[in-house]
């Protein structure tokens, strides 16, 4: 029987003559869009102060006074007054910074490479993303039906982060399960 892996049979791929070894090398060079491993540590380091700030902001209306800036807004729809478009407005950007840092830190934690990043991990990652999406939207559907007025605004605010949060929990739980086997 012919052993393909050792044979010098030539294949034609993209008008180029290549051996079986070349095809394996090409397949190995597939791109993954994950962040470097150190981003996980950066993400965790960013998340801790961000969570602390978020708790202070949400429960005690805490804002840094030195973060009052003139910012560019595409649409500004204040409670009192008319809607403005493409204008500079005065705003304290504490809440914007908290949201930006929370999203960045969760993305860093969720999508940084593991020490060994092989196809099983990629498979678990994909399944976890699917699972997290289902859970996130099931929770959102429940909230749409049973939460009203300002409570729903709170739900929408948390929903910005829950997909990533559910993914991180699901993925890490599966990885712990795998490592225990």
């Amino acid at each position: 029987m012919v052993n393909f892996t050792k044979s010098k049979v030539y294949f034609t791929l993209c008008k180029k003559k290549c051996t079986f070894e070349d095809i394996i090398k090409t397949l190995r060079m597939k791109t993954n869009y994950l962040l470097p491993q150190k981003f996980k540590t950066i993400g965790i380091a960013m998340l801790v102060p961000t969570l602390l700030m978020a708790v202070l902001f949400l429960f005690y209306d805490f804002e840094f006074p030195f973060l009052d800036f003139r910012v560019f807004s595409i649409i500004n729809d204040p409670i009192m007054g008319d809607t403005e478009h493409f204008k500079f407005i005065e705003d304290n950007i504490t809440n914007e910074l908290i949201a930006v840092f929370a999203i960045l830190s969760l993305v860093f934690i969720a999508f940084s490479k593991r020490k060994v990043e092989d196809e099983l991990v990629a498979n678990i990652r994909l399944k976890s993303l699917l699972g997290a999406t289902y859970i996130n939207y099931l929770v959102l559907l429940f909230c749409i039906l049973f939460f009203y007025n300002f409570t729903f605004l709170w739900v929408m605010m948390f929903n910005m982060f829950t997909l990533l949060l559910f993914f991180i929990i699901h993925f890490n739980f599966k990885m712990i399960q795998l490592n225990r086997k």
Partner: protein, 67 residues
């Protein structure tokens, strides 16, 4: 899909960790393949067959339920 990876490893007196290192995956992945929990990719099957110097279908076999 069933496989005789454990048998092939035993023939070569190779541990899961050694095989994992040779094909550039984690030991857990080899364990998951052996126990049938994970259906590996074609490229990994080819790499493993190359390590044992046999054809892919000598290690990995389709079962009736796969057809």
């Amino acid at each position: 899909m069933k496989n005789s990876l454990k048998v092939e490893r035993a023939k070569k007196d190779m541990t899961q960790a050694e095989l994992a290192k040779l094909v550039n995956v984690s030991r857990q992945t080899i364990n998951a393949i052996e126990s049938g929990d994970y259906n590996l990719s074609t490229i990994l099957a080819l790499k493993i067959s190359k390590v044992f110097q046999v054809n892919v279908n000598e290690i990995f076999l389709l079962e009736n339920k796969d057809l």
